[in-house]
């Protein structure tokens, strides 16, 4: 089912007769990677569900004009990241929360969400990641969990490779310090 290349999927999508089928295949190919990427940013499963649906709606609207200058998956990651960050901003505006309180809320979600089932150290690592500034948090997640290349991360986040390396280095140091505290 997932044996189609991105190029083949795009060609099928541009054909009216196979458009829906191609989009279905594309969702099945990328839904898990995008879901986990979003989940690491917004933490709650329900919020992730909202964000991933909005992400794919945006992809549906923009895929026809996708110019293939970048890889499809970095383009999808970019949309997903923007949607997740927009979601957090809306949440902050809606509840008139300062940034620190958003982090606290995400930490509370770590304790209360029914779809959290890791061990103590995994939860502690997530808490440490939530203490990082937003950009560092995303960079750390993409490098540590997704093992993404810096060049691809640069394409997704629009930041230079050097800055991303520095960002990841700082993030690792902070997390290591946080984990050593206990």
């Amino acid at each position: 089912m997932n044996s189609y290349s991105d190029r083949e999927l795009l060609e099928m999508f541009r054909n009216c007769e196979t458009k829906n089928y191609a989009f279905n295949l594309l969702m099945r190919k990328y839904q898990e990677r995008l879901y986990w990427h979003i989940r690491k940013i917004v933490i709650s499963h329900d919020d992730t569900d909202d964000v991933i649906q909005n992400t794919f709606l945006k992809v549906w609207g923009g895929l026809e004009s996708f110019r293939e200058d970048s890889q499809l998956f970095t383009w999808l990651y970019r949309i997903a990241t923007n949607e997740a960050l927009t979601f957090l901003k809306k949440k902050k505006t809606k509840f008139l929360l300062p940034l620190v309180d958003v982090e606290q809320q995400l930490c509370k979600t770590l304790e209360s969400d029914p779809h959290i089932d890791g061990d103590e150290l995994q939860i502690k690592l997530q808490q440490a990641i939530l203490k990082l500034p937003e950009k560092q948090r995303i960079v750390f997640n993409m490098k540590y969990y997704d093992e993404m290349k810096y060049e691809d991360m640069s394409d997704v986040l629009g930041t230079s490779v050097g800055a991303l390396k520095a960002s990841f280095h700082h993030a690792v140091k902070k997390i290591e310090k946080f984990l050593e505290e206990d």
Binding site: M27, H115, L125, Y144, Y145, V172
Partner: protein, 153 residues
């Protein structure tokens, strides 16, 4: 051991998150249902006066502006100063002080004043015959008041 490896050694790279059973099996269908709903909604809008929806915010702004303009006009209309005289006479009402003091008043001043009228009357000469003229003599001054009759077309 690098710091990254230390973290990996302590906490691993497993995420402590889970999803409901069958979530990824149902997600594409859920998204496609939303896409279809939004596509058919936008088609319905296009068929039923899409421009109204497209310019809805601009129309609402224009309607609000018109409403405020009407309110402002009525506010001004109701609070404007109203003349004590009949408004049809305001343009030609005419009061001229001939003398400040009754002791200095002489009839000749009054005649001169009448002859050398400064009034810029917009009514043509023919209608002037229709004026009532009042001369008022009060305690310390004499005034001439011209008051125009209502002119029927």
């Amino acid at each position: 051991m690098s710091e990254k490896e230390k973290i990996e050694f302590k906490a691993g790279r497993e995420l402590p998150f889970s999803v409901p059973d069958g979530y990824f099996d149902n997600l594409p269908a859920k998204i496609q249902a939303r896409i279809q709903a939004e596509t058919s909604a936008s088609e319905t809008v296009t068929e039923n006066g899409g421009w109204v929806v497209t310019f809805r915010s601009q129309l609402a702004f224009a309607a609000g502006f018109a409403f405020m303009a009407v309110i402002a006009y009525f506010g001004y209309y109701l609070s404007r100063p109203v003349s004590q005289h009949n408004s049809r006479h305001v343009g030609t009402d005419y009061v001229e002080i001939v003398s400040r003091s009754i002791s200095d008043f002489e009839d000749i001043d009054l005649y001169r004043s009448i002859e050398n009228r400064k009034k810029q009357d917009t009514i043509n000469e023919a209608t002037r015959e229709m004026y009532h003229r009042y001369y008022i003599r009060s305690n310390n001054c004499i005034t001439i008041i011209d008051e125009k009759k209502e002119i029927q077309p």
